[in-house]
């Protein structure tokens, strides 16, 4: 029974990771940018959300409604002002730029919010749970998973059906040929990063509801997002979603074996995938 429980909890945890991984997969897939500041952006948005909640007495979903547009705008500006200057064949300049941004953001957050851990009050939402066949399922993790699935589906449909999605896939396949077809790569890139960071607006609210956040926490979120994307494979947004589930289950099962083994177990699965199937479990060879 405890293994079924581990599986269920792992999948629910995977919902959280999927919200980090989607944006990372999108940015890597389209621009070959590994955004090292991805985790710090989650934390920055979380801290902004917490401040909004305490200053204006907003509930978690009102915070989300404010944070998502803010995150979209932030992503758009980030791409226009910084990343469009360093994106290209060579992945190194963008890696260095986002690494620098990561350091700058951490210091900025320390300056504004100090190193203290904070969390978003959820009005009891974070502690409610339902019991199904002897397994306790938290309401918040279920919402997180549903939102993650909704975001993945939305992103997938956008990529397949919408004009912007087609332009994005075209730029991802061959950016020069996309420009030859009239696509403006820089504005497509700006939209892609806006969406990638916009998704973090959701993730930030859930992250600060389910646990505490502090300015130095970004690194761990980045690693989980990165691992989920690698495990799932770069091919599709559903790959990132599935990779997040695998990572979540690996951590939850590891945690049952030994509480200190949880995070490590996720890393081991990640390394095994990297060694045995580098294109990812669901990626194309």
């Amino acid at each position: 029974m405890q293994w079924v429980d581990a599986l269920v909890q792992g999948i629910l945890l995977g919902g959280m990771y999927a919200q980090y991984a989607l944006g990372m997969a999108l940015m890597f897939g389209v621009m070959r940018i590994v955004n090292v500041s991805h985790g710090d952006l989650v934390i920055l948005l979380s801290l902004i959300g917490i401040s909004l909640a305490s200053s204006f007495g907003l509930g978690p979903f009102a915070v989300m409604a404010a944070l998502v547009p803010l995150a979209l705008a932030f992503g758009w500006i980030l791409q226009r002002a910084v990343l469009n200057r360093v994106v290209g064949e060579d992945p190194l300049p963008s890696l260095i730029a986002t690494f620098g941004l990561s350091l700058a953001l951490q210091n900025l957050m320390l300056q504004i919010w100090s190193a203290n851990s904070r969390s978003l009050p959820g009005g009891g939402l974070e502690s409610r749970s339902i019991e199904i066949g002897g397994i306790y399922i938290g309401l918040l993790p279920v919402i997180v998973l549903l939102v993650a699935a909704g975001l993945t589906l939305g992103l997938d449909l956008m990529l397949k059906r919408m004009r912007f999605g087609r332009a994005l896939r075209a730029a991802s396949a061959d950016v020069e040929a996309a420009a030859m077809t009239g696509v403006n790569p820089k504005s497509v890139y700006a939209m892609a990063t806006a969406i990638a960071v916009g998704i973090l607006g959701f993730a930030a609210v859930f992250q600060s509801l389910r646990s505490t956040v502090a300015p130095a926490d970004g690194g761990a979120q980045l690693i989980y997002a990165f691992e989920a994307v690698i495990i799932g494979g770069m091919g599709s947004v559903w790959g990132a979603f599935a990779g997040s589930m695998v990572l979540g289950v690996a951590q939850a099962v590891g945690f049952r074996i030994d509480p200190g083994f949880g995070v490590l177990s996720g890393h081991i699965v990640f390394l095994l995938v990297l060694a045995l199937r580098p294109q990812g479990l669901f990626g194309r060879a």
Binding site: A173, D174, A179, T181, G182
Partner: protein, 242 residues
């Protein structure tokens, strides 16, 4: 005849390597112009320079009388120049119809009006309708070339640049593809053909330019130029091409 494209002392290259020296080329409305020359003569570089893929000074390239040198590629498409690039450069992982839709999407975004529609294109290349849902990477070379041409046409160009569209294709397929050119030109679209096959280039064009080591060595009406003249311009010596 109105001039659609003209280059004036066009100079371009890659880093320290200069690939084009003072290239003057003119293309008039509705005209087909062939650009021939050996490998490395600068033909593809010329197209890339016109398309804004290489840095050039504004005055070096005029389109519709306005200086456009160095304009970003997507803006050139918006102005009415489309290219069938060397190596086809299709969007892998996407179906035939999605590849074509990218072009339709962009022309409708810019409200570029033109006569090319998906159904019209399917009349020109019926096989594409049959393969509409097939991923482009599983098409044959000739079919991929048709998608690449179709994608360029759906940009509703007034000037179509074709970079070695016969390369690596069976003669029968090449004939099929070249048979589509008259219909393209019938819409008033001017065409620039970069071609290795001199016979094909001569028969499909009104005028031709021969390039050698980044310079234009011969130009004139295609039907008036002799094989001997081409041979000399092509190799820079007294050779003839068969």
């Amino acid at each position: 005849m109105t001039e659609v494209l003209s280059t004036h002392g066009l100079v371009a290259g890659y880093g320290d390597f200069q690939a084009l020296y003072d290239v003057d080329v003119e293309v008039h409305e509705g005209e087909a112009v062939a650009l021939i020359g050996a490998n490395g003569a600068g033909k593809s570089t010329f197209l890339r320079a016109v398309m804004g893929l290489l840095p050039v000074a504004p005055d070096m390239v005029h389109f519709d009388g306005a200086p456009v040198g160095g304009t970003p590629t997507d803006r050139m498409v918006q102005k009415g120049v489309a290219i069938v690039p060397e190596g086809r450069r299709l969007f892998t992982g996407m179906s035939v119809s999605d590849n074509l839709r990218v072009a339709i999407d962009q022309s409708s975004r810019f409200e570029r009006k033109g006569c090319w529609t998906l159904s019209r294109l399917y009349q020109l290349f019926p096989i594409l309708e049959e393969k509409a849902r097939t991923p482009v990477e599983s098409l044959s070379g000739g079919q991929q070339q048709m998608v690449s041409i179709g994608r360029a046409l759906l940009c509703q160009p007034r000037l179509l640049l074709c970079d070695e569209i016969s390369l690596g294709l069976a003669p029968r397929v090449v004939r099929e593809i070249y048979a589509a050119l008259p219909e393209v030109r019938a819409q008033g679209t001017s065409v620039v053909l970069v071609e290795q096959d001199v016979g094909l280039a001569k028969s499909a064009s009104d005028r031709l330019y021969c390039m050698l080591e980044g310079r234009v060595t011969l130009s004139g009406r295609s039907e008036e130029i002799t094989r001997e003249q081409i041979g000399e311009a092509y190799f820079g010596g007294g050779h003839a091409v068969g």
